[in-house]
Every structure is written in structure tokens, then in C-alpha cells.
Amino acid sequence: MNKVAVDFENSDIGSVFIYTHEAHPGENYPHLTSMDQKFRHAEALRDVYGVTRRILLDALNGACHRHFGSMPNMTWIFNRSGIPVYKSDWSDSHSVRNALEYYLEIPNRRKAGERLAPFHVERLDYRNQERELFYESLERNGPKAVAEFQKAFPSG
């Protein structure tokens, strides 16, 4: 997702990361109890995972995150009017890139004389599950996070 942000930054595309709650709390990164702790975890996300996009913190009660469905790693795209035009229950750079390329083509199509009107579409996209990286991240959170995930999803 960092690369998508860089690749489109000169096309008037902004990109931010909203810090939510700990999906898999562990000994090293336990559940959040204060905004100070939330700031520390968000800084760790930047430093350990190398998130280069601006990181913004949601309120401790997750008001923003909960309004949008509170999935652990979802992505939305908004237009300049503040209207969501894309929503995805998981984050996938290929899907986001594909959507942006579509939206950036709209002005060209209008210039070419097409009369465009919005419509709704649903489709099933496919993401890379990156299981090894996921388990590495669980281990980074602490043994508790690994054990709880394995108990919740025994088949992995």
C-alpha cells in the first residue's frame, strides 16, 4: 500500500492510514487503554512496519473505525467531496490500484465526449493471504496473540 501511495501521489491522490485498535493483542502490544499508548503503538507501526503514509489516530472508542464497519484491515477511497467511491473489507494493493486507475480515467473519458453517470457495482476481488508474514506479525505481538489465533482458527 505504501507503493500505491507513492505511485499515485503526483496524480492528486492522497493516502492516509487510520490507527484503530489492536486486532491481535499480545504481551508486546497489549490492548489499548489510553491515547498515550495508542500514540506509542502507532509510532511502532511506522518504525517497525515502515508505514510511510501519514498515520492518523482514531478516538480511543473507535468512533470513525466503527462507523465504517470496524474490519481489522479495510480500505476505503473517498472523492474530493468526501463521498466514498470504493470500499473493501480487506486491504489489497492490486484492488486499490485497479480502482484508482479506473477513477483517474474518468476525466479523460469526459473530455472525449462520454456522458458518464455513476452506478453501483459489486465484485469479488482476490488478495494475497501472505500467511508467513501474518504469523511473523503475530509472533511480534507476543505468544498470547499466536495462541489465541490458533485457538480461534485451528486450521490456520
Binding site: G14, S15, H21, E22, P25, N61, C64, S70, M71, W76
Partner: protein, 69 residues
């Protein structure tokens, strides 16, 4: 002030279905094409901003939600 029970429920302390499944609500999320309400957000330097401020700066804005864990 937010209710502490709400804060505690949202920031669950263990990944067990009875604590995390209640938050998987994508089916109830707002539809695309409709304006959404504004929400306060904080920069890492502790300064305040808001969702509306951030998503109206560019032709399009990608918003990824997530956390360290």
C-alpha cells in the same frame, strides 16, 4: 466523554470470537455514493485533524484502517 464500557469492548484484551466478532460489521457499513459524517482524528505529533479535512484535500484519498497487531 466516551463510555468506558464501550472503550473496553472496542479495545478487547483477547482475540476470542465473543470479543472480536461483534466488530466485524462491514455489511452494516455506509454505502458508497453517500456523504459520511465527520470524525476527529489525531496526527502523530498530537495535533488534531478530522476525517473530512483529510479526505477533501485531493481528487481521491485512500484510507486504510488498521493497527500494529
Amino acid at each position: 466523554m466516551p463510555d468506558h464500557t464501550e472503550i473496553d469492548l472496542y479495545n478487547y484484551d483477547e482475540f476470542v470470537p465473543e470479543k472480536f466478532e461483534r466488530w466485524m460489521r462491514f455489511d452494516d457499513s455506509p454505502p458508497v455514493g453517500k456523504l459520511v459524517p465527520d470524525f476527529p482524528l489525531w496526527n502523530l505529533d498530537r495535533s488534531t485533524t478530522s476525517l473530512k479535512t483529510e479526505i477533501t484535500k485531493h481528487a481521491y484519498t485512500i484510507v486504510e484502517f488498521g493497527s500494529f497487531t
